[in-house]
């Protein structure tokens, strides 16, 4: 019964999604308020229904209902309960259920936290989200229904892929999907703004916190995926330039550009068309990611699905989304491009370079990911693009990005002074270069790569810290987005330092060991003490006991395993890792070797700085969360642009109230001034606050002010 109930609820959800997609949009175009107000209730109802359908599938897993084909494929009696929960998204159909669940969560959150937004905007945003939901529910119902029954009922399920039976994989997909799907919110805001024809700073401010949260989830998801691959695949790699990783990296690169571009749109009213384009690109690449992973076109670890009809459906959906949004863009964008002025050397210029470089990086990754698929599809042969290509392209693009990051945060809007910036940053630059050049000697080996990587990492880290300290020493409240920005940059610096360190100083030994043998990687000695058998809930494993000595002293015993899962013929390597802040010791157990020597093949790795990658990612995520929690967004969203525009207009008549209101908000609202006055006032403000702190200030929408004044 539970399967039929689930399917029935899912069909209901489809109908509700259709209503949510069509009526509010039509209502907003024909000014029928009642229809527009349907957007929120339908969003909530849809969430309830999708959650219900998802709950049905989950119940199927928890009750070991193997009459459901999908459950039988991905679970069995012996699977521990947490993994039964995770098994729901262990396969193609279930992961799509997770996709729409995430989408309905995002939709409801948008519906809930946008109470103060004008109904015309929110109804269109929710309508676009409804459209996406329709597409995906149709996809599930027609090509990948998880509720199909299987007869005769198998007595036992096939089990979850052992690789996925891991805590990392319990949280990795939901985080990544939150990020992927979150891009749909940025996309929906962009499309709603295009339909409305109002790409103003208010739009970018509504859109920013959502984009930043989605970006944080994406960052966390990618970081978790990398972490999982590192300890679970058993050979110590943490990034493979695998198509699936690329599929998540591309939206990340574009959304990083989008966050920065949105900032320019909000603060300066510039880059509007570009920002919209990035929002469309970020969501399209998220869809592409779903397509790549879920259509079976990849020769990759993750491509478990293998049904071409699915791929064609996603591809068509992708074509519709990209095609229609670009058409809308081409039709509407010329009307809305009215950027602010900018000097050749200004923060805008740095943001522009950031956008261009990130876009080029995305294009390069896209080329390397799609080219083999296209060639294969055209029957021109089979080929692959190896990691050397990506490394060769990516590193040189990251160098200017990292180098320009610090001048970019220091530069003033509109017109920056090169000499000021140089004087401001020269000591930081000097310290970075000196440390970057000398620290590799401490590690025992100097190379240009380490020098460059560490200098840039230190440059970004120290420059960010310098800026944070300078800001803290100045009076005035510091907004969440200031902390967010700088923590995210600090996280990036830590990741860069870590990547350089591990790439340059790792030691990898593939060895054969018999009991009593020792392997030395200075200053560590690894000794194989014993081999044994252990039993897990649904596997048996060979386990090695390897004692680690640090400078002659025994520090710990590592226990790598080779697991054999009962329900699958597939062995699994379970690495043992010892971590501290500076390094990982990584041991994974291979096969016993033939012959009388009783030897085992073993991977013994010394991986310096690996923990820095994970710490750096977490700091970046923390930055994203801090930025999205900035009070400004909450305060500002309590002001609809209609209200503020109205206020601006009514200021003449009712000036006092307006002024009081501005003080309450933060003191430097500029809305009732003419554009020239705005410029001069901003400049005078810049004189006594740091260059970028001005934009942090909760000024009301300059744009609506300009509009109302003109």
């Amino acid at each position: 019964m539970i399967a039929e109930l689930g399917q029935y609820i899912l069909i209901l959800a489809l109908l509700v999604a259709l209503v949510q997609c069509v009526l509010p949009l039509v209502g907003s175009l024909t000014k029928q308020h009642a229809w527009q107000y349907l957007a929120r209730p339908t969003a909530w109802l849809q969430f309830a229904l999708v959650a219900g359908a998802y709950g049905c599938l989950l119940t199927g897993f928890l009750r070991d209902d193997f009459s459901i084909a999908y459950v039988a494929e991905h679970s069995n009696h012996l699977l521990p309960t947490p993994y039964k929960v995770a098994a729901v998204w262990g396969g193609h159909e279930g992961s799509l259920m997770l996709w729409i669940l995430m989408l309905s969560v995002w939709t409801s959150l948008v519906a809930y936290f946008s109470k103060s937004l004008p109904i015309g905007i929110i109804s269109r945003v929710l309508s676009v989200l409804g459209f996406i939901s329709v597409g995906f529910i149709l996809f599930i119902l027609f090509t990948s229904n998880p509720f199909l029954r299987e007869l005769p009922i198998p007595a036992e399920g096939r089990d979850l892929n052992p690789l996925l039976q891991d805590p990392g994989l319990v949280i990795h997909p939901p985080m990544l999907y939150m990020g992927y799907v979150g891009m749909s919110v940025a996309f929906a805001f962009a499309i709603a703004a295009l339909i409305t024809g109002r790409l103003d700073s208010a739009w970018s401010r509504w859109s920013r916190p959502w984009t930043v949260i989605a970006w944080s989830f994406l960052t966390l998801g990618i970081g978790l995926g990398s972490w999982w691959a590192y300890y679970e695949l058993g050979w110590g790699g943490w990034w493979f330039w695998d198509p699936v990783e690329n599929a998540s990296l591309m939206p990340w690169l574009v959304s990083t550009a989008l966050i920065h571009s949105l900032m320019v749109t909000e603060k300066r009213g510039g880059f509007k068309a570009w920002t919209v384009l990035l929002a469309i690109a970020a969501f399209s690449l998220s869809l592409l990611g779903t397509f790549l992973v879920r259509s079976g076109v990849l020769t990759s670890v993750h491509a478990f699905a293998a049904d071409p009809t699915r791929g064609i459906f996603v591809l068509c959906f992708l074509a519709i989304v990209v095609g229609s949004s670009l058409t809308l863009f081409a039709w509407r964008a010329p009307k809305v491009t009215l950027g602010g002025t900018m000097g050749l050397l200004s923060r805008e210029t740095f943001m522009l370079i950031n956008s261009v470089l990130l876009s080029v990086a995305t294009a390069a990754v896209l080329l390397g990911t799609l080219y083999p698929l296209v060639i294969d599809a055209l029957n021109l042969g089979k080929l692959s693009v190896g990691p050397p290509y990506f490394n060769l392209v990516f590193a040189p693009l990251m160098v200017p990005i990292l180098f320009l990051l610090i001048p970019g945060t220091v530069a003033k809007w509109r017109n920056a002074n090169l000499q000021d910036m140089f004087m401001h940053l020269r000591w930081t630059a000097l310290v970075s270069v000196v440390l970057g050049a000398s620290l590799p000697f401490l590690m025992g080996e100097w190379s240009f790569g380490v020098f460059l990587g560490w200098t840039l990492g230190l440059w970004v880290g120290l420059g960010t810290l310098q800026h944070m300290v300078e800001r803290v020493l100045k009076p005035g409240r510091i907004g969440g987005s200031f902390w967010g920005q700088h923590f995210a940059h600090l996280g990036l610096a830590i990741v860069v330092l870590g990547v350089t360190g591990v790439k340059s100083f790792e030691v990898e030994r593939d060895v054969k060991m018999a009991i009593g043998d020792e392997v030395t990687i200075q200053p560590y000695v690894f000794r194989l003490n014993a081999m044994g058998e252990v039993k897990g809930p649904n596997y048996t494993a060979s386990q090695a006991q390897i004692e680690v000595f640090n400078s002659g002293e025994s520090t710990e015993i590592l226990k790598p395993e080779k697991r054999h899962y009962l329900s699958s013929a597939m062995p699994m390597t379970e690495a043992a890792i010892s971590s501290n802040l500076w390094r990982d010791l990584y041991v994974s157990l291979g096969d016993p070797l033939p012959g009388d020597a009783h030897q085992w093949s073993m991977r013994i790795y010394y991986k310096p700085f690996v923990p820095w990658l994970w710490v750096g990612v977490l700091v970046m995520v923390l930055g994203g969360l801090l930025a999205s929690l900035d009070r400004r967004y909450r305060r500002a969203s309590a002001q609809s642009p209609l209200q503020t525009a109205g206020q601006a207009l009514s200021m003449g008549a009712d000036g006092e109230e307006g002024v009081m209101h501005e003080r309450e908000i933060g003191g430097d609202s500029l809305e009732s001034l003419s554009p020239e006055a705005v410029n001069s006032q901003e400049q005078s403000l810049e004189a006594d606050t740091t260059a970028h702190e001005l934009p942090q200030s909760p000024s009301l929408h300059t744009d609506s002010g300009v509009q109302s004044a003109t």
């Binding site: 020769t299 000097g343 042969g381 089979k382 290509y389 699958s568 062995p571 033939p594 093949s601």
Partner: protein, 151 residues
């Protein structure tokens, strides 16, 4: 500078930077493509010498030899065979009679030395490249076996 001039410079610099980036990317791309060949193609001499490429097929039953350092096995598409040398740990799912993809170089003596044996993470999953190698060879065999009948 007038805004028009400024815009001109922005666009010019932008285009120049983009062109340099594109040239650079495409160059790196060109030199890092790894092509795929089936054992039959290797036997016909279609595969390049001393350039990185991939081969795929089945690991021939009984062909796996683990030496003290080096591992040796034979990749077959049931028409032709290539023997592969490899130093290192084999992936968990490497088994005789299962599909495999190996990346490496062919020496002038016709010896394939793999630098990487690719892991595939599902026992029922056949690497698409290995599968296509098998299919191609099977098709050619079928075509050959049909010829005498038609004559």
């Amino acid at each position: 500078m007038t805004p028009r001039k400024k815009r001109f410079w922005f666009i010019t610099v932008g285009i120049v930077v983009l062109c340099i980036a594109a040239a650079f990317v495409l160059n790196a791309f060109q030199s890092n493509l790894v092509f795929f060949f089936t054992p039959s193609q290797v036997a016909k001499g279609e595969a390049p010498r001393n350039r990185l490429f991939r081969i795929g097929g089945m690991v021939k039953d009984g062909s796996l030899k683990k030496g003290s350092d080096e591992i040796e096995f034979v990749v077959t598409d049931f028409t032709n065979e290539v023997s592969v040398h490899y130093t290192g740990l084999l992936p968990d799912l490497f088994k005789e009679g299962k599909g495999v993809v190996a990346q490496g170089r062919l020496s002038d003596q016709g010896l394939f030395t793999a630098t990487e044996v690719l892991a595939k993470h599902d026992e029922n999953y056949m690497p698409p490249e290995a599968k296509s190698a098998m299919d191609k060879a099977a098709l050619e065999r079928a075509a050959k076996s049909l010829k005498p009948n038609s004559n």
